[in-house]
């Protein structure tokens, strides 16, 4: 005879300690990716904009975690509505130690729901930060924070629902392991829209606007790769086969991308470039993001090699246009995510993933499901971001004056310099509470 308490305990979904341990670590790994992205981006801009560029990533952590807890998580992961989830988990209502129940399969997970929410939050942060790459060196910090807050809900949470949360793409059979739809295509095509609305930097196309610290770029890329093992490896939500496959593919694919990128650099300029290598690491990680747990290690390497080609082409072509999509989020994330999503349609293999085959293994329908996502996600991300920034622009100018841009965003928006020497700086006495006799500059 069992008493009531043990009956309830037996019926409650079981949390797996091994899975939970790994997901705790994976969540921390993914959180590291956002400061790593800040470093990567900061190295790519001019020295006078170092801090502002990094702060856009820090700002994304600040606002996207709050919006995620308030409403983003609920819109993405509450219920199986076609387009959006519900408001049942708003303010983290009902998110506790019991595992989340998948609305499509009605099976509970093996990790606490609270941890599931935290892991997904780190994705919302990173994706929001990624978009900043399109508008660095000119967008004002205040409007960026407002944009980041709204974008993380209106674009990220919606796309996450479509592909992971039980929305129409997932229900229709689209495979997206770790975020080709919401993270990569979501950020990449939003970046294109953001660059168009905010406009080019004042000196774009007239002067050489060069990266000021290639070492930051390489260190940032290395830390991003490190964090990506949690990003992809954690997207199986367990220590099972899918997670192990995605983890290992996260090693293989970027290496293949690097090799092909080196070759392309050699052909084009007769030299292998360091910033090219850092870019290749990102591109490779993005390529395997949607496909990580669905394709064999061999095809993962093929994906890395082949996927380098369109991304490289867009990176070479884009600066010749008038579109100042400054840090090439479209090429590195949008195009690579698009390619990875479609690649699944050809090379998914049920003997590796236990879910579905692709065209090559006799399931042509999978390619159709993937193509649908590859059209819908970019279209939604582009259109929504375009409208969102236009609306924000009605209330607050998105960019400062040419004078402010010339002085640099660090001094204008943060009152700090990345490489301050302190020479000639006059200490303002705290007790006086005011600035000295000499007049001070304000942002215009």
């Amino acid at each position: 005879m069992m008493d009531l308490a043990s009956l309830i305990a037996a019926a409650a979904p079981k949390v797996d300690t091994g899975d939970t341990a790994w997901m705790l670590a994976a969540t921390a790994l993914v959180l590291l990716m956002t400061p790593a992205l800040g470093l990567f981006y900061a190295g790519l801009v001019r020295s006078k904009n170092t801090l502002n560029t990094f702060m856009m990533c820090v700002g994304a952590i600040a606002v996207a975690v709050v919006t995620w807890a308030v409403v983003g998580y609920s819109l993405a992961f509450d219920g199986s509505g076609d387009l959006i989830g519900g408001f049942g988990h708003a303010f983290l209502n009902g998110v506790d130690f019991s595992p989340r129940v998948d609305p499509l399969t009605d099976t509970p997970g093996t990790i606490p729901g609270l941890l599931f929410m935290a892991f997904q939050a780190t994705f919302a942060i990173l994706t929001t930060a990624l978009v900043s790459g399109a508008v660095v060196e000119r967008m004002r910090f205040g409007p960026f924070l407002i944009f980041a807050a709204l974008w993380s809900v209106l674009v990220y949470a919606v796309l996450a629902h479509w592909s992971f949360g039980g929305g129409w793409l997932q229900e229709g059979g689209t495979l997206d392991f770790a975020g080709g739809v919401p993270v990569e295509m979501g950020s990449g095509f939003s970046a294109l829209a953001a660059a168009l609305v905010v406009g080019a930097r004042k000196d774009y196309g007239r002067q050489a606007l060069l990266p000021h610290n290639a070492v930051y770029v390489l260190v940032g890329a290395g830390l991003l790769w490190f964090g990506w093992f949690g990003f992809n490896g954690g997207s199986g939500f367990s220590t099972g086969n899918a997670g192990v496959l995605a983890f290992t593919n996260t090693l293989l694919t970027p290496a293949a991308t690097l090799v092909v990128w080196f070759a392309l650099d050699l052909i084009r300029g007769r030299k292998v470039t360091a910033i090219g290598a850092a870019t290749a690491i990102i591109v490779g990680c993005v390529l395997i993001t949607p496909a990580g747990g669905f394709i064999s290690p061999g095809y993962a390497m093929l994906l890395g090699g082949l996927g380098a080609l369109p991304c490289y082409a867009v990176i070479v072509w884009r600066p010749r246009t008038r579109v100042d999509e400054t840090l090439d989020v479209l090429a590195a994330h949008g195009v690579a995510g698009f390619f990875g999503i479609l690649f699944i349609g050809f090379f998914a293999n049920i003997s590796w993933n236990g879910v579905a085959d692709g065209l090559l293994f006799g399931n042509a329908a999978q390619l159709g499901d993937q193509a649908l996502a590859a059209v819908a996600a970019p279209a939604y991300a582009f259109a929504m971001t375009f409208v969102l920034l236009k609306v924000i622009g009605l209330f607050s100018p998105l960019r400062g004056s040419d004078r402010d841009e010339g002085i640099g965003m660090d001094v204008i928006h943060h009152g700090e310099e990345a490489y301050a020497t302190g020479e000639g700086a006059i200490l303002v006495r705290p007790e006086s509470g005011a600035e000295g006799d000499r007049q001070v500059a304000r942002a215009t």
Binding site: D203, G406, V411, A425, I426, V428, R438, V440
Partner: protein, 117 residues
């Protein structure tokens, strides 16, 4: 023979170089300097420490020219560097005693005339 020194905003460097090129002034040296010329101070805060910074980054052009090029050089510096705001910089013109081109030993006007001009 004069030494023309132009102290300008770093973000105007390309415009100045382009104006000099158009004026057929080819020999320049550039150094990064910090200076104060009446523009407004910046207030910066690092944790609890607030400072007022009066020095701004500037670029210093040094251009040695023969008499015939002095006016053209000054005009080019003004055209390239002017934004109309306080802090655009200054031009100083100094007499120059001697100049020697190290490679050939050419002196004075010959030394400050570009090769092939």
């Amino acid at each position: 023979m004069k030494l023309v020194i132009g102290i300008v905003r770093p973000e105007r460097a390309n415009d100045v170089l382009e104006a000099l090129y158009r004026a057929e002034v080819r020999g320049v040296s550039i150094s990064r300097v910090q200076g104060h010329g009446g523009e407004l101070d910046r207030v910066e805060t690092y944790r609890g420490t607030t400072v007022q910074v009066g020095l701004s980054d500037k670029l210093r052009f040094e251009i040695a020219v023969s008499e015939a090029f002095v006016e053209a050089t000054i005009t080019a510096l003004c055209e390239g560097a002017r934004t109309g705001e306080v802090g655009d910089g200054k031009i100083f013109v100094l007499p120059m005693e001697r100049a020697v081109r190290i490679r050939t030993g050419e002196a004075d006007d010959l030394a400050v005339t570009p090769v092939g001009a």
